[in-house]
Amino acid sequence: MKVLVAVKRVIDYNVKIRVKPDNSDVDLTNVKMAMNPFCEIAVEEAVRLKEAGTASEVVAVSIGPKAAQEQLRTALALGADRALHVQTDERVESLGAARALAKVVEEEQPELMILGKQAIDSDNNQTGQMLAALTGRPQGTFASAIKVEGDSLEVIREVDGGLQTVSLKLPAIVTTDLRLNEPRYAKLPDIMKAKKKPLETRTPEEMGVEVASQLKLVSVEPPAERQGGVTVGSVDELVDKLKNEAKVIS
């Protein structure tokens, strides 16, 4: 079966972000960018399905500026067969991304599409669910294990308080949670090989989809700074402070 996997270019998770002085947005100039960690897990799962003989082809898709091709090359180095870049400089939010991906799904007809459950920049946790709704496909969100069973997919989901197992009729959409797998690192020879793998570039306009954001970003502010407190010298002092100063225990 054909597996599509979505990847998003985001700020590297180790970078401490700064808000622009005019509070218009987060400052991304000269900041290290990387593949969203949940998308890395999605790519890994797709590649493992291919290695297991379940998937016949893995196609990576990204929506974003020209530089997003770096993350598509990473996906190719990790084992995707080809890549599709929907190039736009618009600020794309989940609905726009889901619309573009729905168009790709309509054209490519994958049996399975895997996405990260959320991107660590917008922290929305929406795109996979929206894509499932727009394509009329079932969804297995926050997956910690997936298994193809004939024409259905069994998904173990991380839910509040534990795990839920659902069965989805293929074709289906899956979003990854942290424990689905541990992504590999790309090896140098694979990075070299990835440069020769096919990467197609298209625009939302030629695909006939509207990706621009419908939400107005009014302002972005740093959060209220939490003041560090005091170091206490002993457990006795701690218990005393909690009782008599903070009054959170009795």
Binding site: L95, L163, V220, V235
Partner: protein
């Protein structure tokens, strides 16, 4: 136009998160003057609907009681919300795994950009929400006719009980041949639920292994606390993921948060820094957790935690 709140419920009980989401809905209603409806969808949910009718500020409870909504699967829940949404200006749910699962489906099918995990209501169309693991707070304004919103429950104080809303049945029954429920393994615990506990004791990589997490039990017992963990502890396989506090796990804001053997990675702090009082116990005095802790105790957790248990 009214506001619709999707009730959160588990195991036949109305979850506490619902009262917090209704509180957010009331703040919106202050600007728009709207009534608040609560939707209870599930199978055998009459008692839950009664509980929802008792929440202050709720005008009407609508009950969709049918086997197809039995496990609150996203596909039928999304379709039900789509069928009801035309009566509403806003649809709200908790930012729980249920709310996150179903609401984007409604938003997509209505052509609305959802607003996730709001922490403040500025006006009926403008909201604040954390981005970048809470390291920035974005104010966003929606021009969509229907606003679809998930709410961070800890950011709004729960409404009181004592309301007396009317309860009406919804007879909309949708089809679902796409997904089916197989089973559920929920952690059995006598402890309070992590997301709503007044006190949380969390362990990190410094705990060393899963067995050592038992050390936290004594302290948690004495304080009536829930037990959480950092992502590092979950990744290391010490404890299950449903204990994870952080950007990618649960967001908590208890009165007292005790971080044991947790260094304080950005993504962990995103999940707990709105706690009223933070205590950190760590042997590394340079650990970033001490920068947000009200009270820091530097030393060996294996000595300090048993001592703390004794002295509480």
């Amino acid at each position: 136009m009214s506001i619709l709140v999707l009730a959160e419920h588990h195991d036949g009980h109305l979850a506490e998160g619902t009262a917090h989401v209704v509180a957010a809905a009331r703040q919106i209603a202050e600007h728009s003057g709207a009534d608040i409806d609560v939707l209870v969808a599930g199978e055998g949910v009459a008692a839950i609907a009664e509980a929802a009718a008792g929440l202050e500020g709720v005008a009407r409870v609508r009950v969709a009681d049918h086997a197809v909504y039995g496990h609150q699967l996203a596909e039928p829940l999304g379709d039900l919300l789509v069928a009801l949404a035309d009566d509403y200006s806003h649809v709200l749910a908790a930012g729980s795994t249920t709310g996150k699962n179903a609401l984007p489906r409604l938003a997509a099918l209505k052509g609305t950009q959802q607003i996730s995990e709001i922490i403040a209501v500025v006006s009926a169309d403008t909201f604040k929400r954390p981005v970048y693991a809470g390291n920035a707070i974005a104010t966003v304004q929606s021009a969509d006719a229907l606003k679809v919103i998930t709410v961070r429950p800890t950011a709004f104080d729960a409404v009181a009980e004592g309301g007396s809303a009317s309860v009406e049945a919804v007879d909309t029954v949708v089809d679902n041949d796409l997904s089916s429920f197989i089973d559920e393994k929920l952690a059995q615990s006598d402890r309070p639920e992590l997301g709503s506990a007044k006190v949380v004791v969390s362990g990190g990589r410094g705990m060393g292994n899963g067995e050592n997490f038992k050390l936290l039990d004594g302290v948690a017992d004495k304080l009536g606390a829930a037990i959480g963990a950092s992502r590092a502890a979950v990744d290391a396989g010490f404890v299950p993921n449903d204990m994870q506090v952080g950007q990618t796990g649960k967001i908590v804001a208890p009165d007292l948060y005790i971080a044991v053997g947790i260094s304080g990675a950005i993504q962990h702090m995103a999940g707990m820094k709105d706690s009223k009082i933070i205590v950190a116990i760590n042997k590394d005095e340079e650990a970033p957790i001490f920068q947000v802790a009200d009270y820091g105790l530097v030393g060996d957790l294996f000595e300090l935690v048993p001592e703390l248990e004794k002295k509480l």
